[in-house]
């Protein structure tokens, strides 16, 4: 291992130094000479017809450069959707137009109607107050089931209804699943809500557009998880700017959690407006704006049924889900309740027959798209809740019921009935590890101690499967993706041996600058300090699909390995020439090339210098230089899994739930940087516990967002959470990527909500209240108290 950390070392993060000293460079830190400021005028009603927009008073205000409305975007394309789902009848989903600025109608509170561009932010904001907009309010479409009734108002008049699609998976299994339910010895049914969430990365979105009239080059600085995807979507589909004339830069980005994947109207606006007004244009979201303009997450209403035979084996699962799309289709929205959800409904279990039905519905709310986990938390929550409910109905231990139905360690690779093949896993091992690290054996004594204090203690488990690194591209293309899902990397070795790695992955908290360097250093045997990771700028990195879905190391890291191996192959040829040996005899170890069986050697820098100063070099057979690019398209998803355990105390007087301990035993395959992996899990747990106990995005009956600020939307705070007990010693390496890694970014948010809810129900049942079988998230004191006092 390199002395400053290769694969497996908890190397401290190099990026921390700039963040800890105030030297990070986030998008809002970028100011371009002469820039003007944009302020968006947004709809304050959920649904309405725009009768008149009068910008004349605003245009006369001090400092105003121009006021934009939909009329200015007449020749511009709408915001595209990146995934087309085909419904259960073989028809494509209904896909409404999504104009950059509202055109004729507003469809959610926050829908942008006009934009004031002025010399200063304050002038833009002041003038925005003077934009006159007459709107005739229309009845808002809010409840998903009501939205599908024949007499519901329509969010989009040009569509036949508010139904985006009615998806069935696996449609061919529908009849067999029904037969299995008829034959079942026991059926457990659970209706539940997966509450709508707001991602809320701490950095609000920012976009700065710049245009050079002399070259025709556009630059967009933006808070994005995938700058190349923005370049492609915005360039090709919205503004018609070819890639070579459009540079997209995502510098330091302050968290994303999915919400910064998508192409947003504000990005297209500043890029467009910069050319129109002949000045750079900057927009910085306020947090209040983020609540009504960032894509939100989850929002499923589900009925799940689990069929068991007389021996408590799972025989079938059937679900019916209503998935909220919001007012428009965000970039990847249609894929979340379908391919990222239905394919996970086997969980860790041998259930032979599964049928998933999803009706995606348009409503007058902010668009919904992927949020940390994206479809997989929804799948895991319903499955792990219904299994727990079944165990209670059958009077068996929830852990044992799971264990009995787990896919067995010798059954991998395992073909599920929902189209995916799990390559590796050992769910019995992760469950055992969980019970050990959470000291389940000592639970009864702790519960007795709580009882003595008048508190109800409960222990809940959940076991999750995740699918990361979604691929291969030809498969996802068949499933409706309008993008490839590979990753690319360029490894540029400099003359003196230092290395610049250009990756299409994007780091916004994941620590790639450290962990990716560890990978390259390990492969070559040089110090990680010699390796620099460059990302986030389409002008200097190869094509990239970005960072989401826990894909960066599994897909982006594999591209880096592939490119580095090309480098090593070429370097060995150069070394063979330098040492007048056969290439087959060259070995690379600890950054030194040797000829097997001899004492001849040349070090790394000797070879790299020869590549760039090719005086002694086989020029007739090989080009000088040492730079390679690789594209890696995985052959399968990766499948992390794990057992999560939550121990809670419920105060029966107030309904308050306190988490006393939370343990996570994950199998992420091989680990590059354990410190970073643990941090990812801890952060995911906080978001999952937030969903379970605190967070809820609430609209009132008029479609007004009630939870529209940090005063109303309960973000987890330091004193809401316990310390976490995180273990990743269970390891079944991925078999199809070169690092054997699986991905760890979302696991915490996927596995924790059902563990928390199961723990609360356990506590309530232990206190004799077996009539309470489910409480919808978030389990606030009010909701728990009401459940206990219904």
């Amino acid at each position: 291992m390199p002395k400053d950390g290769g694969i497996g070392a908890s190397t401290k993060r190099r990026e921390d130094v700039r963040f800890l000293t105030g030297k990070g460079r986030y998008t809002d830190d970028i100011n371009i000479r002469g820039q003007a400021y944009a302020w968006f005028v947004r709809s304050d009603v959920a649904h309405g017809r725009i009768d008149r927009i009068d910008t004349s008073a605003a245009e006369a205000m001090p400092g105003v450069v121009k006021v934009f409305t939909a009329a200015d975007f007449a020749g511009v394309g709408g915001i595209p959707c990146g995934w087309q789902v085909t419904d259960r009848f073989g028809k494509p989903m209904q896909e409404p137009k999504h104009p950059v600025l509202a055109d004729g109608k507003v469809r959610h509170v926050g829908d942008p109607i006009a934009v004031v561009v002025a010399d200063t932010l304050e002038e833009a904001r002041d003038a925005a107050e003077a934009v006159v907009i007459d709107i005739t309010e229309l009845p808002p479409v809010l409840d998903m089931k009501a939205a599908l009734s024949a007499d519901s108002p329509k969010v989009h008049e040009e569509l036949s209804s508010n139904l985006c699609y009615d998806w069935g998976f696996v449609e061919e299994n529908k009849g067999a699943v029904e037969e299995a339910f008829k034959a079942a010895a026991h059926v457990t049914t659970l209706e539940l809500v997966n509450n709508r969430l707001v991602a809320n990365p701490m950095e609000p979105r920012v976009a700065v557009g710049d245009y050079e009239s002399h070259s025709g080059n556009h630059t967009l600085y933006t808070t994005s998880q995938n700058p190349h995807v923005i370049r492609l979507l915005m360039g090709a589909f919205v503004l018609g700017i070819p890639e070579h004339k459009l540079r997209v830069v995502a510098p330091d980005v302050g968290g994303g959690f999915g919400s910064k994947i998508y192409h947003y109207a504000e990005e297209a606006f500043v890029t467009f407006a910069a050319k129109q007004v002949g000045r750079p244009v900057k927009w910085t979201s306020t947090r209040s704006e983020a609540f009504i303009s960032d894509a939100q997450g989850r929002d499923h209403v589900t009925k799940i049924e689990l069929a068991l035979d007389a021996q408590n084996n799972f025989t079938a699962v059937r679900t019916e889900t209503y998935a909220n799309m919001g007012a428009y289709l965000s970039t990847f929205a249609p894929s979340i309740p379908t391919w990222l959800h239905g394919t996970l409904m086997a969980g860790n279990y041998r259930t032979p027959l599964i049928y998933v039905n999803v009706k995606a519905v348009f409503t007058n709310t902010v668009p919904v798209d992927a949020y940390r986990g994206a479809g997989r938390p929804e799948a895991t929550f319903q499955l792990e809740r219904v299994i727990d409910k079944a165990a209670r109905e059958l009077g068996v231990d929830p852990v044992e019921l799971r264990r009995q139905n787990f896919i067995k360690p010798d059954q991998f690779p395992y073909q599920t009935p929902v189209a995916v093949v799990y390559d590796t896993g050992n769910y019995h091992a992760t469950m055992d590890k969980l019970l050990q690290i959470s000291d389940r054996a000592g639970f009864e004594a702790r519960a007795a101690e709580s009882r003595a204090r008048g508190k109800w203690r409960g222990f809940g488990v959940a076991h999750y499967i995740e699918a990361c690194g979604i691929a291969p591209s030809n498969l996802v293309g068949q499933l409706g993706a309008r993008a490839g899902l590979y990753e690319s990397a360029t490894v540029r070795v400099n003359a003196t041996g230092s290395i610049s790695v250009f990756t299409g992955s994007h780091s916004h908290g994941q620590g790639h600058e450290t962990s990716f360097a560890q990978v390259v250093a390990e492969l070559i045997g040089i110090d990680a300090g010699q390796v620099e990771i460059v990302h986030g700028d389409t002008s200097n990195t190869p094509m990239g699909m970005g960072t989401y879905g826990s894909r960066s190391l599994a897909v982006g890291g594999s591209a880096i390995v592939k490119a580095t191996n090309k480098i090593i192959n070429k370097a060995k040829k150069i070394a063979a020439h330098l040492m007048e040996a056969s290439e087959a005899d060259i070995e690379l170890k600890d950054g030194k090339f040797t000829v097997a069986g001899t004492d001849k050697s040349v070090d790394w820098a000797g070879v790299t210098l020869a590549a760039y100063v090719p005086h002694n070099y086989p020029l007739e057979s090989m080009e000088p230089g040492l730079e390679e690019t690789a594209f890696y398209d995985p052959s399968n998803f990766t499948y992390p899994s794990g057992g999560y355990g939550c121990e809670v105390e419920v105060d029966p007087e107030t309904g308050k739930v306190t988490i006393l301990a939370f343990s996570a035993a994950d199998d992420f395959g091989n680990i590059v940087n354990p410190m970073i992996v643990e941090g990812q899990v801890q952060g995911g747990l906080a978001q999952g516990i937030g969903q379970a106990l605190l967070e809820n995005c609430v609209y009132d009956e008029n479609g007004q967002l009630l939870s529209g600020s940090f005063m109303d939307y309960a973000m987890p705070r330091a004193d809401d959470l316990p310390s976490f007990n995180v273990d990743h010693s269970c390891c079944t390496p991925c078999t199809h990527n070169p690092l054997g890694v699986k991905g760890c970014g979302e696991a915490g948010a996927i596995g924790s909500p059902p563990a928390v809810v199961n723990a609360v129900i356990d506590a309530i049942h232990r206190a004799g209240r077996t009539d309470v079988t489910h409480i919808d998230m978030p389990l606030t004191p009010s909701r728990v108290w009401q459940a206990l006092n219904a």
């Binding site: 401290k12 993060r13 990026e15 921390d16 130094v17 700039r18 963040f19 800890l20 000293t21 105030g22 030297k23 990070g24 460079r25 986030y26 809002d28 830190d29 304050e122 990365p201 701490m202 950095e203 609000p204 330091d252 980005v253 302050g254 968290g255 959690f257 306020t286 947090r287 209040s288 916004h508 908290g509 994941q510 620590g511 301990a661 354990p674 970073i676 643990e678 941090g679 801890q682 952060g683 995911g684 747990l685 906080a686 978001q687 600020s709 940090f710 005063m711 973000m715 987890p716 705070r717 330091a718 004193d719 959470l721 316990p722 310390s723 976490f724 007990n725 995180v726 273990d727 915490g748």
Partner: protein, 161 residues
């Protein structure tokens, strides 16, 4: 516009500002000290936390004119004189107390403020003190650990990873 003078990280600065200019905006836009971040508009997130005359203050809760004559310290003034990381900053790196880095300046300023008055805080005291600073990445586990370590205490009491 009115004139305002203050000491920021040991240097005296004088600028003309509008009455409505917040201290957080003043630091970022007028002085170019972009380490102080703005994460909300309701004074909830704490990303703009700075020290005013030694007291921890959210920069978005005071106008620049309100702190005329004050001694201000921001994240840019937290490193040691030789440029190396201070004990608290180093503890955040050592214990992976940050991920995206956006809340980090506010967290460091809040932690420094706590340790100035309570050199050996308990885990509960640390969590209580940081209640006004939101972090969406870390789940606070490693932030708490970092503050505990910066105070010279054993971090073994924070659950093992």
């Amino acid at each position: 516009m009115a004139k305002v003078s203050m000491t920021v990280n040991g240097k005296t600065v004088t600028r003309e500002v509008e009455g409505r200019t917040l201290l957080s905006t003043f630091l970022r836009e007028d002085l170019g000290l972009t380490g102080t971040h703005i994460g909300c508009d309701t004074s909830q997130c704490g990303a703009c936390t700075v020290h005013v005359d030694g007291q921890q203050v959210k920069g978005c809760t005071v106008f620049a004119l309100d702190v005329d004559g004050a001694d201000i310290r921001t994240i840019e003034g937290m490193a040691n004189k030789d440029g190396s990381l201070s004990v608290i900053q180093q503890a955040f790196q050592d214990h992976h107390g940050l991920q995206c880095g956006f809340c980090t300046p506010g967290m460091v300023m809040a932690a420094a403020s706590l340790l100035a008055v309570n050199p050996k805080p308990t885990e509960a005291e640390i969590r209580h003190h940081l209640e006004g600073n939101l972090c969406r990445c870390t789940g606070y586990h490693n932030i708490v650990k970092a503050v505990m370590a910066a105070s010279g205490q054993d971090v073994g009491s924070i659950a093992a990873e």
